[in-house]
């Protein structure tokens, strides 16, 4: 019972953070709103029983990605037009399109969704030990490919540094 209540709470917080992201002016505050959303989502994952994912959400997303983002925001404190005028020219068309999008998707999913429930039975599936064994046994190929992707990312980062260094002389 309390779980459902908490679930609703965390979902609401996530949505609130997302909505705030769209409205706040200062980029730093936007970043903080996003962190809030992500933490709420981690809570949702935990409540659903996928503790592994919840932990990784906090560690990777909040801990690495958002920290990096905050660094970038701190470095680029440029107060130009984007600061004073938050919204682009396509505000109204954008809102309308987003509403339409939601309508269309909801309409599409309405009939296709299975009944909610059938929920916790899979909790055991996501215990850490079980998860990692499955992960590295069955999905080892995906694991390897993703590591290749990371290597590529590292190479790209070094290249960007080189370009940056060259352009600065």
């Amino acid at each position: 019972m309390i779980e459902t209540w908490l679930l609703w709470l965390f979902a609401a917080t996530a949505l609130a953070g997302a909505a705030l992201m769209l409205v706040l002016q200062h980029p730093m505050r936007v970043a903080l709103a996003l962190i809030a959303t992500m933490l709420s989502l981690a809570g949702v994952y935990a409540l659903l029983g996928v503790h592994v994912i919840a932990i990784f959400q906090v560690l990777i997303y909040v801990g690495a990605v958002m920290v990096f983002m905050v660094y970038a925001i701190m470095l680029l404190d440029v107060r130009d037009r984007s600061f004073t005028r938050r919204f682009s020219r396509l505000l109204v068309p954008g809102v309308i399109a987003a509403v339409l999008f939601l309508a269309v998707i909801v309409h599409a999913l309405w009939r296709a969704l299975p009944a909610e429930g059938g929920g916790d039975g899979a909790g055991a599936l996501f215990a850490l030990q079980r998860f990692s064994v499955e992960f590295l046994n069955e999905y080892w190929l995906h694991f390897e490919l993703v590591s290749v992707l990371l290597v590529a990312a590292v190479v790209a980062a070094v290249a960007v540094l080189e370009i940056g260094r060259k352009s600065r002389g």
Binding site: S88, G94, A97, L100, F101, V104, H107, A108
Partner: protein, 626 residues
């Protein structure tokens, strides 16, 4: 020789091809040999055919060469037909034609386009022979158009001069107007009779039951074509301008042969015209009007060739008068004598022009009789012939025409005779005027021209002598009787029969009167003439401007057509509609592209929005099959 007629036709064609393709490379000797030799060969072959005809008792020779087109059970063949009428025509065409070719050797010696000239002359002969030898009207029409083409090429021979080129165009276009009538006539004939063979057409009309087409309508339509080719009113305007071509061309085409094609065609289809009294009346009327009209203009012209041109128109009118009253044989007789003396006159004029180094205005000539005696003698004989002085050729033919104009039971009338007789008087007058002003009297030439006056070479004077001799004795050949089996002469109205001898005397009197009048007016060095010109100044103005016919045509037809062409077809049709559509389409493409390219403005926001819109549309679309 199994196909002599085809040979006659093909010899000049070979000449055209040889001279046209190789003439420039093989030199003037080759060109002259081929260009004159082949027509002479054709003439000899024609003589042979003539004897074959006589040996066969007058039965026509037929030479079927080639089937042009056949559909169902009817077909169009190219076949050649040789009866007494064709014999006369072929002998004139090849005979006088060969003489004129020989004359051209001397006349065109200095010209740079020597080979082209002979090629075109041979081409003309080829088409003319197609015309006179063709059995079917279709072959005749091919020849008809072909001589028109050759005429255009030769009138505009010195095409660097735009006026001369324009004269060639005028000739061709005026001919085409007449050809429209000719074609309509042919269509009617084919529809009614299913054949275009001339002898079959004549037979059909002479048969007891007439074909289901009005002979008069066909007759008039065909005559429209004839009046285009033979320069009758109202399509006569091209012939004076055609004098822009070299003089031998004027002699051959616009005097002896091409312009007589209309007379030949009417005589060939005599079967139709004998049953078409209305058409024949129209022919006679137009003939005599044209004759009178052209003669009045001729007395006020000052260019030696123009006088002869109007004289040709006038004489052609006489030929049509004869055809219009049913005396086809007499028309051909006059065609025959006219070929001799008119060719002689034109070639003589050419000799004079050659002697004077290019001068053509008779007001600047005079006193040439002693300086160029051969030219003078031949010119004088030909002038007497055309005026109708016995016993020269012209007297016989013209007298027959006048007689039948008066007394023919199928259309002759005293009124017709009267107009024709006045025209004959005028003919004598202007021809002697021409002779006088050119050869007699005080010399009005400029000093340097006078210094260079010389007689023409033998190739030219020889031909002149031959033609003059033929003009003198040619009349003794009783051509109308020779042609009578084919072209019967009409009976004379009984009441007029006893007028024959008086009219004969009257003809002689007319000729002498004309001579005397000219001698009187022009013998005193032009003073009386100048006085007359002042007294009748208005009339003189109208006559020397040829009744302003060209100006009338230009105002009536030329300018409206030009206006339509420019305003409607050029500006509206071409520029606004066609160009406008093209430019409009191109513009539309450009504007559409311009509009569409505004999507790509570099703004990521817009791109993202468009992606979202695309997703929405695709999802919504998928609901159709939902």
């Amino acid at each position: 020789m199994s196909h002599p007629l085809t040979l006659i036709v093909l010899l000049p064609l070979a000449g055209f091809l040889l001279n046209g393709l190789f003439g420039n490379r093989l030199g003037k000797g080759f060109v002259s040999a081929v260009g004159c030799g082949l027509p002479i060969l054709a003439f000899l072959t024609a003589i042979k055919c003539f004897f074959l005809l006589r040996a066969g008792g007058g039965a026509p020779l037929l030479d079927t060469t080639y089937t042009w087109a056949s559909f169902g059970d009817s077909s169009f063949e190219v076949s050649f037909y040789f009866d007494v009428l064709s014999a006369v025509m072929v002998l004139i065409v090849t005979g006088v034609g060969s003489l004129i070719h020989v004359y051209s050797i001397g006349y065109m010696k200095e010209d740079a386009s020597y080979a082209r000239y002979f090629a075109y002359l041979n081409l003309f002969l080829f088409f003319m022979l197609l015309l006179v030898l063709g059995r079917s009207l279709l072959v005749l029409f091919v020849g008809w158009e072909g001589v028109g083409l050759a005429s255009y090429l030769l009138i505009g021979f010195w095409f660097e001069d735009p006026d001369k080129a324009r004269a060639g165009k005028k000739a061709f276009i005026t001919n085409r107007v007449g050809d429209a009538g000719f074609l309509l006539g042919m269509f009617l004939l084919y529809q009614a009779l299913g054949t275009l063979d001339a002898d079959r057409i004549n037979a059909a009309f002479m048969a007891p039951t007439l074909p289901a087409v009005s002979a008069s309508v066909v007759g008039v339509l065909l005559f429209i074509g004839a009046s285009g080719k033979s320069a009758q009113i109202p399509l006569h305007v091209w012939l004076p301008d055609a004098m822009a071509g070299p003089t031998p061309v004027s002699a051959l085409i616009h005097a002896a042969t091409m312009v007589t094609a209309g007379v030949y065609m009417v005589s060939r289809l005599s079967g139709i015209y004998m049953h078409a009294p209305e058409a024949s009346a129209i022919i006679a009327a137009i003939g005599v009007l044209t004759a009178f009209f052209a003669a009045t203009i001729a007395i006020a012209q000052n260019d030696i060739k123009k006088v002869l041109a109007y004289s040709t128109i006038s004489q052609l009118g006489f030929m049509f008068v004869a055809a219009g009253v049913g005396a086809y044989g007499v028309a051909i007789f006059h065609l025959y004598t006219h070929a001799f003396f008119k060719a002689c006159l034109f070639l003589g004029a050419g000799s004079v022009i050659h002697a004077l180094g290019g001068e053509q205005d008779i007001r600047k000539m005079g006193g040439l009789a002693r300086r160029i005696p051969v030219t003078f003698a031949t010119f004088a004989i030909a002038t007497a012939a055309i005026a109708g002085i016995p016993p020269l050729a012209g007297f016989f033919s013209k007298d027959e025409i006048l007689w039948y104009a008066f007394a023919s039971s199928s259309g002759g009338s005293p009124l017709l005779y009267a107009v024709a007789a006045v025209t004959a008087l005028l003919t004598a007058f202007y021809m002697f005027r021409l002779l006088w002003l050119t050869f007699f009297g005080r010399s009005r030439m400029s000093a340097e021209v006078e210094h260079h006056v010389h007689e023409s070479p033998l190739s030219m004077t020889g031909v002149l002598v031959v033609l003059a001799a033929l003009s003198a004795i040619g009349g003794f050949l009783a051509l109308p009787h020779f042609l009578e089996p084919l072209l019967p002469l009409p009976a004379a109205v009984p009441a007029f029969e006893h007028f024959e001898t008086p009219l004969l005397v009257l003809s002689i009197a007319i000729a002498v009167l004309g001579l005397a009048a000219a001698a009187y007016i022009y013998s005193d060095d032009g003073q009386r003439a100048a006085g007359l010109r002042k007294r009748f100044a208005g009339l003189y103005q109208v006559l020397s401007n040829k009744y302003y016919v060209d100006e009338l045509y230009d105002w009536l037809i030329g300018r409206p057509l030009y206006w339509i062409s420019e305003r409607i077809f050029l500006r509206l049709g071409d520029q606004k509609l066609i160009d406008g559509t093209l430019h409009g389409l191109a513009d539309l493409g450009r504007r559409t592209a311009g509009g569409l390219s505004r999507v790509q403005n570099g703004s990521l926001h817009l791109y993202a929005l468009l992606v979202l819109a695309g997703i929405i549309v695709s999802l919504a679309w998928s609901f159709r099959h939902g």
